[in-house]
Amino acid sequence: MVDKMLMMILIPLITAFLTTIILKQHKVVWTLFLAVSGYLSYTLFTMYGAWDLTWSIELGYKIFDSNLVLSLANNPLGWFFAFFASVTTMLIAMFSIAFNDDKHDSKTAPIWLILIFANIGIFFAQDWLMFFGMWEMMSMSSYFMIAHGKEIPAKAAKFYLSLSLVGTSTLLLGIISVARLSQTFDINASIDSLINLFATDYNKAILYIGLFAVTFFIKSAVFPFYMWPSKAYAESPDDFTPFLSTVMSKYGIYGIVLFILPILQNADIPALGQINEPAYILAVLGAITSVLGTILAIFETDMKKLFAYSSVANIGYIVMGLSTLSIIGIQGALFHSINHMVIKSAIFLSLAAVIYRTGEREMHKLGGLAYRMPLTFMVYLLGIISAAGIPPLNGFASKWLIIQALMSQNMLFVVIAMIFASTGAFMYLFRVLASVFLGQLPDKYKHIKEAPLLMAIPMTIIMLLMLAIGVLPGIIMKPVNAVLIGMGYDVQEASWTTVHSAFSNSDLNVTNIFYIFMAGAAIALVFYLFSAKSVKVTQDDNYTAGELPSDWGTTPERFNFSYGFYQPFKEMFNPMMDLISFDRWMAAFGKIVERISNGLSVLYTKSEGAILMLYIGVAILIIGGWII
């Protein structure tokens, strides 16, 4: 009997190499990919509760006077993320089989499998070195995944790569600093030693936490690293973007929950309000992230970029939830993480289906697709209702928990930011709906069909999932509470229908809201049904007074009001945009490095100065060794 844990990481890896050989058989390859993710989901499902499952390997490298052992262990938190990630992956994989046909095959299955391997490793890593190794593996493979052998994506991926590398560097530094404190790479031991460090050297402890936090922030695109998703998500393969947005944005969240939260909760840190200073910084960063993400999403014209920023905003919510350090906040954050996975996979998959059929990413060039792809439209519609946090779908309960937690901790301005972001979400969510699915259908898309069956199935499943979680939040809340109990928090078992808050009379029965909604719907339907029948006419028939646009030598899509959808609003923010565009700063920095690089290159081409440089070297030695 081979170790379950080992199998879990080996099977994706082996399949990765297998698929490399038969890369051209794309149907087989992607079916294998589905099989692997299915296997992972099943194994993870059976692993629930088996928290003593471990696997370790001795590398024969001596460090801290003992042999280095890398180990994986099944732990509640890791299981929680890993399980839902692999379920999401499975759904995406099903979609991918249909998506990667002759024309669209990005030939990235092997790299994606390595990414999944790293994914499992990150979530189950027991020691920092395993964690770091898998983290780097994830960074590198996702770079290749995003770039996927195309030139323009490669440019975007470079941006992502540079940030990832910054992250891994700080992570490595942090890991070694902390490991030196505890003389072991064990994660739990390092948490304890950092808590102790807070008692003696506050600044150093904050510095160490900061090193970790930078990495986690980068990977989850928390401010000030919010700008890479818009580039990376947009250019990555369309069926990979859901994975990027749903699973990969959670690594940082996982890191924060795993490592930073226990420290902030248990360490002896001077309080600021009801929480402490570092947590407040976390909250403010989360707030800025969500506000900025929202604003930038509103102005975006590329739909994948738009939802990239939307993801950033959602990460902001999660971070805010975590920063409350209260159980409700953490519950909300974990719940929202999963909801975000489901919602964003629905949205990005429906967009991928649109791109699959039309090949267009710019919203204003599309329109009216709801009439050609009604199922995709429904998936998207439910997705955005969820994403906007509207009951009775799933996004609501988690947002509600986070808001409640923030309010109960008196983090007033953070709540306002949250409200701003979630109201702003309507704006961008609706924009895509109006531009892509509603409005005039351009002539060239007159004959496109609904997404193929293999795409429709996962989309439908996700749609039902959103509804199910929306009505019965216990589906997620029960695991969430089980995880929290497993992590040692003092929580009750969750109920199927109700979520709890710290305020009086504030326990929310989500199922009831569903009933109320259905009651409202029933009444509205009564009004609708009892009114007079309507006639269906073509769109041109009404407002163009029956004269077809072609009569005037124009095309229907000219009537789409979508390019500058929020132009007046955007103009309000114009003076501010330059200030917040960090990517411009980064680009400028890159330019400077390039210029220095060119200068140094010239230095090396010169023959004349070679001896001079040698003398300068001698002078450095003399000055450094003798005079100083």
């Binding site: 009379n505 009933y515 109320i516 009004f527 009114s531 009001f561």
Partner: protein
């Protein structure tokens, strides 16, 4: 069974009150304009008329959207306590109310967007922008209330104001009330914050393509919306009400303030409106919040 009966009763009540409010609003507006104006039940007649006429639709999304709009607002209404009574046993959470209202906006926007008319889209775009403008100050005021009462339940806030008239929150937090009033003006789409409708520029914006039953449903939505919004203010600042009659009178009062302002102000451009909302009501709300927090 009782619940079903309650739901129908409350819904019909809200629609009726809302429509009558709209009628009264038109009457008052006419009087401000020195006209005679239609009878106060004119809106009811309008709705019946519209519902019975044949209408045109472009696609299923319009139907879906309009039903969704009404659904959302009726759902919201069912969640709000009216003079302490409530249709459906729940905790009357403010945040739930805010989000439920959004369904209505979303459905409406979707329906009119589906028509493909550029004016409708412009209207929707403005409406959504305006929404970002007023939700934030409005919520900030509510946040003050929540913190003050340590509960996000409308019922609890309501009960806390029981007893003397001096217990009303309008005296406890007058600055917040002013802010909420301003936000309410925008929420109801009244001048100076009616850029999304702007009949002169974009031909009533969202409504441009609606006819017959769709416009009727729109009217109903608007009516329930007025009811919900005024009910919120009454619950928050005017102590709710001991009976349904006093509750409705307070609602009317709030509504009439809005109508009168509507008739004496010109219209802001959309970005001006948002700026105004983010400066004045927001500023007041924040001041209120700080005062409460201290």
């Amino acid at each position: 069974m009782m619940t079903v009966f309650n739901i129908i009763l409350y819904s019909l009540f809200a629609i009726l009150v809302g429509l009558i409010f709209l009628g009264i609003g038109r009457k008052v507006a006419a009087r401000v304009h020195l006209r005679y104006g239609p009878p106060f039940y004119q809106s009811i007649i309008d709705v019946i008329k519209l519902m019975s006429r044949e209408s045109i639709t472009h696609n299923f999304v319009m139907d879906l959207g309009m039903v969704m709009a009404l659904t959302g607002l009726i759902g919201t209404m069912l969640y709000i306590p009216i003079a302490g009574h409530i249709a459906f046993e729940s905790n009357t959470n403010i945040i739930v109310i805010m989000y439920l209202m959004a369904i209505g906006h979303l459905g409406m926007a979707m329906a009119v967007s589906a028509s493909g008319n550029p004016y409708a889209n412009i209207g929707v775009s403005r409406a959504l922008t305006m929404m970002l403008g007023y939700e934030v100050p409005f919520f900030t005021v509510m946040l003050g209330l929540i913190i003050y009462n340590q509960s996000s339940s409308v019922m609890v806030i309501n009960l806390a104001q029981a007893g003397s008239i001096w217990n009303w929150n309008i005296w406890q937090m007058p600055i917040g009330f002013i802010a909420a009033e301003m936000a309410l003006q925008a929420m109801m789409g009244e001048k100076p914050f009616d850029a999304m409708i702007a009949p002169a520029e974009i031909a009533s914006g969202p409504m441009v393509e609606l006819s017959g039953r769709y416009l009727g449903l729109g009217f109903l939505t608007k009516a329930v919306g007025v009811f919900v919004e005024t009910a919120l203010i009454v619950n928050f600042f005017f102590g709710g009400g001991t009976s349904v009659i006093t509750f409705v009178i307070k609602q009317l009062e709030v509504f009439l303030i809005a109508v009168i302002f509507d008739n004496i102000f010109p219209r802001y451009k959309i970005e001006q409106a948002v700026k105004f909302l983010w400066i004045f009501p927001m500023g007041l709300a924040v001041i209120q919040l700080i005062l409460l927090a201290i």
